[in-house]
Symmetry: C2
Subunit: 291 residues, 2 copies
């Protein structure tokens, strides 16, 4: 059983067919057939069920797949670790929540790039759950997500402390006024489309206030949310720093929350590995203990 066999296996499993896998692997069908077959001979049990429109994993294949993926990912790490001479360089894939990317990362990334120009940093934004999964799958080297995170394969480092505030249009001078003004139906809440981590928190806070929740609108961008809050379409929950930094800061009002509600830590999570890459290590150094 060789790593190349496992790559082939994982590709077939993912694409669901030998023809598609052969395309992805830049080879011909017959080779993929043979590799899979020899793998099945070695394991001793069939890994796929063949049917007219492709292949699906057998139970044995389903047991093997996560190992195959992990082995392939680890072999990539191994090469990087061996080549890593301590000088930060090469690609570094970082993920971040929208809000963190908007207000915290610009200075950090600028500083990092100035200190380590040999590192090719890429940034991808998304919700906490997606980013965490991406880190686990090694498609990201690390990510800024909303805490707390507890997973045996992840190491998390405190990055930023945020104060969450409830944002409304300027005309609402207090939460009580908002409450009175949305009697009955309750406020409309504005959240990110793809499972934003602050969304649960917002719904929980409204529940604690005993407010009904009229309706929910989902957005793809931070500016979209803030813009709609400014035009009094509804309320949202965001870090205070995000609201202050916005161009529309004059048109919105931030309402403070109580201690338990407002506090959220942004953590930097990374995969627990044998060897922490120099690029990632130097990145940690840019917002960690010092600097």
């Amino acid at each position: 059983m060789e790593l190349s066999d496992l790559v082939t296996f994982a590709t077939v499993a993912r694409s669901g067919g030998i023809t598609r896998a052969a395309g992805e692997l830049n080879t011909v069908q017959s080779n993929v057939t043979n590799r899979i077959r020899s793998l099945e001979v070695e394991v001793g049990v069939p890994l796929f069920e063949r049917h007219a429109r492709g292949m699906t994993l057998t139970d044995a294949g389903r047991r093997l797949l996560p190992y195959a993926q992990q082995l392939v990912a680890m072999s990539r790490d191994a090469l990087l670790a061996a080549r890593d001479d301590g000088v930060p360089k090469g690609p570094l894939a970082i993920g971040s929540m929208e809000t963190t990317a908007a207000v915290r990362l610009p200075p950090l990334l600028t500083r990092f790039h100035r200190r380590f120009p040999a590192v090719q940093l890429t940034l991808q934004t998304g919700p906490t759950a997606v980013l965490t999964q991406a880190v686990l799958e090694s498609s990201l080297d690390g990510a800024f997500v909303a805490g707390p995170i507890d997973h045996p394969d992840l190491v998390s480092t405190f990055a930023f402390k945020e104060e969450l505030v409830l944002l409304t249009a300027r005309r609402w001078r207090s939460l009580a006024a908002l409450r009175a003004g949305t009697e009955g139906a309750g406020p409309t809440i504005l959240v990110f489309r793809t499972g934003c981590s602050y969304r649960q928190r917002l719904e929980q806070i409204l529940a604690e206030f005993g407010w009904p929740c009229a309706s929910r609108l989902e957005f793809g961008t931070l500016d979209g949310i803030i813009g709609c809050v400014a035009s009094d379409m509804g309320v949202t929950l965001l870090p205070r720093a995000v609201a202050q930094r916005s161009e529309l800061a004059g048109s919105i009002r931030a309402h403070a929350l109580n201690h338990a509600q407002k506090r959220v830590d942004t953590l930097f999570v990374r995969r627990r590995k044998v060897h922490e890459g120099s690029a990632l290590h130097s990145f940690l150094g840019c917002f960690g203990p010092k600097s």
Copy 2:
């Protein structure tokens, strides 16, 4: 980079030479040379320093080695997982402390073997630290060790609760009498040779009593310790069940300790893996929640 290359690499690293590695791998020197060289070409840096009496790892090699070992171990797990159809069978390597093996395991192993005769169980005894390391290195599937254990790669399950007692010869009717009888020098303590986990505990307890420790004798077997306690050579610390079960129970005396001192949990630790083998799972079922 293929798994067979990594096996070769790890073998050379462990044996410290190409000739020795070739012997272990049942091949000729020239092949090992070529595999290592092609690996070095692929990684892009030398992995070994050549000198007249063999090879030693470079920094890059030292970074690669743990990955290689883990990849090889994981590929073995992968094969076992794929082949594991849910029926407990095949080899199962269990480790245990001497004391647990003496009093707790006989009935457990008997029961397990009766229920799952297809599992070829092997038992190895040793101190906690060694067993834990063996589990981490996948040379044991699981082990009974003294708690607490906290390691991200290990899962531990409560197995047995033990009451530790201080064992002396029969003539010492109380700890006070022992104290008086060993005035000045303090008692001799009898412990296992290879870093027994109760040893620290015993030294700590004597320290809490404010007793000096005259000298320490190290043994290789449980019977040796108990025999020497019976003939009043010194004192030791063991689970009460071990003392009671001994043939020499009539010649020794167990002295109770206070609550904080006497309590020790025996845990069953195993490696955190993607797939828990059926054999191990069924073994856990033999002392776990039920049965």
